[in-house]
Each structure stands twice: as structure tokens, then as C-alpha cells.
Point group: C2
Chain length 328, copies 2
């Protein structure tokens, strides 16, 4: 099946650009609705961090290290590298008796404007704790402490990544079709859009066993601390606040977005085929309206989907629109 | 006709994302080669600045104001707002007896890292001269001085924009199918990809009449001053340097790219349908290799198309590839 048109950009009464992709809504039994190809194989990138964090929790490593709900949210985060994030990750590593140099995620300038400005204007280089994935990697290090693995915890055959792969295959119900190296150097496993949505439905209906309890704790942590999962001004944070506890949402690079709807027992996954975050943010907003999580008039829907696009003088120049048939 | 696959992003041996679009190569007689739909209607955005600058030159306004080759290059530019750009645009406005407040392009933080840092760290707001289109607008003001129009030179029915529209229809051989407001508040006229490529072929074979001389002067100015057309680290500047005088290249927002090849008498235009600059830069690089302007091993081809993509630790994570059938 081909990709479906999801989101369009209109200017001057003409369609200027368009984003095609694949979107799937699953419940506990399987696919409820789909657009494009549910069988399209994608890299979930950071959208699957809650899956990557499952072994951390159900192995007992999180409790052994006394991880807080805030730290579990950071384990699932692609954060802005703001002080609220870096302070917590630093304290977490200190508690483990580990240092920034034990991380393997690499360093990049944070997206948080204040911290970015502080580093830039003081000519200070960012460190690995600023990396948007530093919470996930602190989680990997916590699990590694528990498993007694070696220092290179991002290698494919390392006990930490083997545990992540086992959890990924169990949650998605698929044997991984391949793997790539993510921006943070951890392995990222390929999955169908339907498999990723199926996994999110599992987090929405977590179950009572040890794995189920881990799913529930991670979703509750994400919903309790939306500002730690991304940061001020970011889609995940603003959409989870707008959902008022009814959804956990997570973005991934190259335009992946997932949602977990505990009240509805539904999981959502989408991939915009061209990799444009503009498209994935608009598409997930459209699906959250479709699933009655957001009202069309909610400011978050205006910001990411239906509000006017303005130029440098504040003039309205166009708008994003749902493509015909999406999500209908 | 549907959009064609032009550029793909690969990771871990799997295709992660893809960019579809339309590309056309024209000579003086018409279409030589095409991918996707040559009749697709697009907004050329900043890729058509050399067309927007034609009335400035062939009206005699440029000579009346004693514009230099550098200023003509800036009239065709989407510049970085570096000191080399802002100093020249400021001096140009001074010579006209005009001020920054006479511009109607709006202000935004420049892309030039040094100037951006200077403004950010001194808490200084950017001005309209920093706008990447300030040279084009200085050109509009110069033409307006000559035509004696009112202050609101970006209005659709203003003499400046009527002259631009006449030139646009003459160069593209099309009656404009519509118009939108560009990021810099000027009208931007819709055109087919074939019409835009036809116009670029006209610049490649400029002719000897008054309009032809204007085309030639603008292309020579762009080729003589690649650093003024965009800036350090930018695709237009780096690709024009790599072309060593054999091509003038210009990007436009939402993934438009054009090329003028005087030696070959060819014009090129392309639009990536999703609006991703990553895709349009890779696609124009592929077409320049296809047309023997760049060698596959040229560093500029490595940077924008065929080199490995690396993550924060410098690990190769994937690469861009030409889609099957593009460009050969």
C-alpha cells in the first residue's frame, strides 16, 4: 500500500506542499483505523523510548536505584536540555556514582533557549547531559548497573540492548526487521507502523503482571511530568498538558509520533514519509481531535495544525490543512 | 502526473524517509528532461529573485542609482545577514537617502552564526536589514524611486509589483495562476515547474536586447559574488563556488531550487513536494552531477548528497541516496 496524504500546506489559495505518510490506531485486539500502509517498516527513533525503558523498570533496576517518577519520565524523554532536565540527570548519575563521561550519547547544543544562550554567550561547550537523550542513557546505565554489563552499553550485543530488543519484540509482536544507529548512538530497531501502534495499545491497557506494572508506571510518569518528557514550547509537553491526563504522547526524529490513550485503551503511531516534524506534529494533533482528546478550538490544535502561518511582519501567509480523507 | 521519488534517506540498510517532487531541465526550445510533473503549479519563493530583479535593471533604475555588481547580487540574494551583507545593504539604502524603516520585509535573527551570536549575547533585536531578503527589497525601493510609486511597495497593485509580475509572466511564458504572500511580505506568483525552468533557460541564453542585457548582468553578478547570494556554509554559495562560473544557483523556501547554466544554455527548476530543503539541496546537487557541472567526488556533492550522515558522536548513521531513475 502507498503512503496517504495526511497534511497539506496552503498559501494564496494554492496547495504549496504536502506531507504523505502512514498512521494506525490500535486497540487490544488490533488495528481500529489506518491511513497509508500499516505494514510500512519504519525506524521509531525516539518515539519508542517508553519501550526502551521497560527493562529498566521490570528488571527491578529502577527500584534498586530508587528512581523517582521524574526520573522515569526522563528515561522516556527527548528533552530540551533545560536546567530542569540537566539538573535531574546530573543528580541521577551522581547517585549511581557515575559521571557524564560514562554516557555514550554524545553532546549537542540544547534546544532550550535560555541554556543555549548561556552556553553560547559564555563560549561553553555543551556536554553529554545536554543531549536530548541523556535521560534514556541514564536509564541504560541504571539497568547496566543491575545487569553488570560492560561500559559500552550501546553496542548491539550488550546485555542492556539485548534486553531492550527482547522488550521491543514482545511489545510490538514482531521480530525486528533490521536496526540502525540512532542520533544518540543507541541501536534503533525497525518496526511496522502497525507494530508500533500495537505496542502503544499495550501501554494503554498495561495489564497486571510485572511487565504490565512497568508499562503503567512509565505512562503515569510521562503524564505526570510533561515538562520533563520534552520541554517548554515543545509538542509533546504542550499536547500532554492539553490532554489533561488522557494521553501520553511522544515524538521521534524523521517525523514519527505516538500516543497512548489509557481511558480509551488505544495506541496510535504515525510516520510522515518525508521525515518532516511539521507534518507529524500536525498529523498527531488531527488524530487527537479525531479521538476526542483535543477540541478543535484548543490552542494546541491552533498552534500545530489549524492556526494561520504568519511571516516576519505577522501577516497571515497560509495554513496547514488536513488532507482529504485524513483523519475524516 | 504524480510527483517522482527524487531523494531517499537510508539508515541501517533500510529506507527511512523519502522526498518526492518535480524537476525540469529546459533549453531555449523547451523541456529537455523532466521528472515528476512539469506542469505542477508551485510557488517559486526566493528562487525567482533574479526575475524579480529584472525590472530594476532593464528600467534603467539600477544604473540611475549607480548599483554595483555586488548590489545586483544582493538583489537576487537570500543572504545570511552576515556583516558582509548588512553593511552593503545599509550603504545602499543610505545612498538612496532611505532608512531601514522604509523596508517592508520584516526582521528576523540572521542565520550567520557570528552575527546571530552578537545580537543574542548583546540582547540586541535584529532589524529588517538582517532579513535574508533585504537586498531584494533594497532593489524594490530602488525601482520604486525610479517609478515614483508610493511607500507600500509590496502591495500587489503597486507599480513595483506590477512591473515584477509583467517580467515574471514574460520570462516564464505563463499567465500567473495565482499569488501568495511570501515570508518577506512581497507577492510571490505561482508558476509551473516547467515555466520556472523555461525562465532559467532564458537567463542562460539571455539575448542581446534590453531585457537580455539585464538577464546577463544579473547572472554575472550572482556568479561573481556567490558569498553575497547566500553566505558561508550555505548551499547556493558553496555550489556556485564549486561550479567555477559555469552555473548560477538559487534556492527558495519550501524546497525549490533553480540553476542557470550559461555554457550549456540550460535552465533547471525543481520542487520537492514536501518542502524539505534537505531534499531540494540533494536533488539539485544530483542534477548538477548529471549535467557535468559537478564531479561526483566534489566535496560539495559529498556534503549535500552522497557523504555519510553522522550523529553526535561522529558515527556514520546513514546517507542520502538518489531514488531509482533520478536523475538518470
Amino acid at each position: 500500500m502507498a503512503a496517504a496524504e495526511l497534511i497539506e500546506l496552503w498559501r494564496g489559495g494554492l496547495r504549496e506542499s504536502a506531507h504523505l505518510g502512514h498512521a494506525v490506531i490500535c486497540d487490544g485486539k488490533g488495528i481500529v483505523e489506518a491511513w497509508g500502509d500499516p505494514g510500512a517498516v519504519i525506524f521509531p527513533r525516539s518515539s519508542c523510548k517508553m519501550i526502551q525503558a521497560l527493562p529498566l523498570v521490570d528488571s527491578g533496576a529502577a527500584d534498586a536505584a530508587g528512581l523517582s517518577s521524574e526520573e522515569l519520565a526522563l528515561a522516556c524523554a527527548s528533552h530540551n536540555g533545560a536546567e530542569i532536565h540537566t539538573r535531574r540527570v546530573s543528580a541521577w548519575l551522581d547517585r549511581l556514582g557515575l559521571a557524564e563521561s560514562d554516557l555514550r550519547c554524545g553532546a549537542h547544543l540544547p534546544n532550550d533557549p535560555a541554556e543555549r544562550r548561556r552556553l553560547t554567550c559564555s563560549e561553553t561547550a555543551p556536554c553529554q547531559i545536554h543531549n536530548n537523550c541523556s535521560g534514556k542513557h541514564a536509564g541504560f546505565l541504571t539497568l547496566n548497573r543491575h545487569l553488570g554489563g560492560g561500559a559500552e552499553y550501546v553496542e548491539l550485543d550488550h546485555p542492556v540492548q539485548r534486553a531492550v530488543r527482547d522488550a521491543f519484540e514482545a511489545e510490538t509482536g514482531e521480530t525486528v526487521a533490521g536496526w540502525g544507529i540512532d542520533g544518540c548512538s543507541a541501536p534503533n530497531f525497525a518496526v511496522t507502523v502497525a507494530g508500533l501502534a500495537r505496542a502503544m495499545a499495550g501501554f494503554a491497557q498495561p495489564g497486571a503482571d510485572r511487565r504490565g506494572q512497568a508499562r503503567r508506571r512509565l505512562v503515569e510518569a510521562m503524564i505526570a511530568h510533561p515538562e520533563l518528557v520534552a520541554g517548554e514550547g515543545r509538542a509533546c509537553t504542550e499536547m500532554m498538558r492539553a490532554a489533561r491526563g488522557r494521553a501520553a504522547l511522544k515524538t521521534g526524529a524523521e517525523a514519527v509520533f505516538v500516543a497512548i490513550l489509557p481511558e480509551r485503551g488505544l495506541g496510535v503511531a504515525l510516520k510522515v514519509a518525508d521525515g518532516a516534524t511539521r507534518g507529524s506534529e500536525a498529523a498527531i494533533a488531527a488524530l487527537m481531535v479525531h479521538l476526542d482528546i483535543f477540541d478543535e478550538k484548543d490552542p494546541v490544535v491552533q498552534k500545530y495544525l489549524s492556526g494561520p502561518l504568519r511571516n516576519w511582519r505577522g501577516l497571515a501567509t497560509g495554513e496547514l490543512r488536513r488532507a482529504s480523507g485524513f483523519p475524516r
